[in-house]
Amino acid sequence: MCSQLVRASQAVKFLITEFPPCLKLHNVTVLSVRWRKPRWVPKSQSKLFYVREPTAILAEEYEMLKPKYDAYRTEMKALRYFFLQANKAERRQEIARTEGIDAKKDEVQHIKALEINRKWNEECARLREERLLKEREKKEEIEYHKQLKKQQEDQITKTETESFVAQSLESSEKFITMENLDEEIEKLLDSKTDYNIGFRSKSQKQ
């Protein structure tokens, strides 16, 4: 074990440099290095089921100390928070100073920019209204022409149907019904059509 220790300390000496005197405390350089048992070695048998006795807390002592500790911790927390905020603010100012950021100037510029944008948007709105108006008018015109055309077509259809109806009525008078069936047959039998025709050059009947 002694040789192991010597070997380990020699190995560590190889790794670390000599620290300057100002860093030594009471002439002892303290390092925490695992140099006897490696971390993967299991717990020793004698220490496996070791359960430590909890430290005895005296009730009176606890009651006396607790509020004091609470007060102390609250104060420390408050101090830390205060310094943190102060440092943050200082840092922000430092950054602003080094980078030339001026919050007021930025705000003024921002308001100006919003004003410019507002005017631009108004102009755009005006253009949009014009465009929409034109589109609406165009649509209405198209609709009007469509209606007109439809009306005209309806009129034509109407006249056509009327003439057809009139023709049908006229020709219905010449229809052969059950009443004048005999008469018509007699007529046909009495009439004679001659198909013996000679065509001339212009295909006219003789």
Binding site: P20, P21, A113, L127, R131
Partner: protein, 172 residues
């Protein structure tokens, strides 16, 4: 060697992207462009996206840029700032150059700001500078220079304790 593929492939060249002149303010986080296809009033916005969006994104890598097609009847561009504010820029029946110039006026960094930033970047890149905001804190980090007195005490001739106060430097 064939030509570069795609419509107006020049938009994808480094030279073109570096020539972009719109650098948005640091407060701008998101830029949203809404436009419609086959819509005369959206033509300008479409052209703006076609020609300028690559440049804008190149110059503002930390700004999220989105485009939406055929979602609203009228085209517009909106900016979301880091304080929650939303700025709407109407783009109805506007030309691409008009839109670009307007955005530059309203939300772009001015020339002087850009120059200041360029100067600051140069200062940072200068290896002769040390301290806060630079690549090295102290000259003692450089090999060949005197080591940090926090680790190795300076020789007594260089210490004020010896030079000015004529005090003997004592070992702890």
């Amino acid at each position: 060697m064939p030509f570069m593929k795609g419509r107006a492939a020049i938009r994808r060249t480094l030279q073109y992207l570096e020539r972009g002149s719109l650098v948005l303010n640091d407060s701008v986080q998101i830029m949203t462009v809404n436009y419609n296809s086959g819509h005369k009033a959206s033509r300008g916005t479409y052209d703006f996206i076609f020609w300028y969006l690559g440049q804008v994104q190149f110059k503002n890598p930390s700004v999220q840029i989105l485009t939406f097609k055929n979602m609203t009847p009228s085209p517009y561009i909106s900016f979301y700032l880091d304080n929650g504010e939303k700025i709407l820029v109407d783009a109805d029946s506007r030309d691409k150059d008009e839109i670009f110039q307007h955005i530059k006026t309203v939300l772009g960094k001015s020339e002087e700001d850009l120059q200041k930033e360029a100067l600051a970047r140069e200062k940072k890149a200068n290896p002769a500078n040390f301290g806060h905001g630079y690549s090295r804190w102290c000259i003692c980090e450089i090999p060949g220079q005197i080591p940090c007195p926090g680790w190795v005490p300076l020789p007594k001739e260089m210490r004020g304790k010896y030079n000015l106060q004529k005090k003997d430097v004592e070992e702890v």
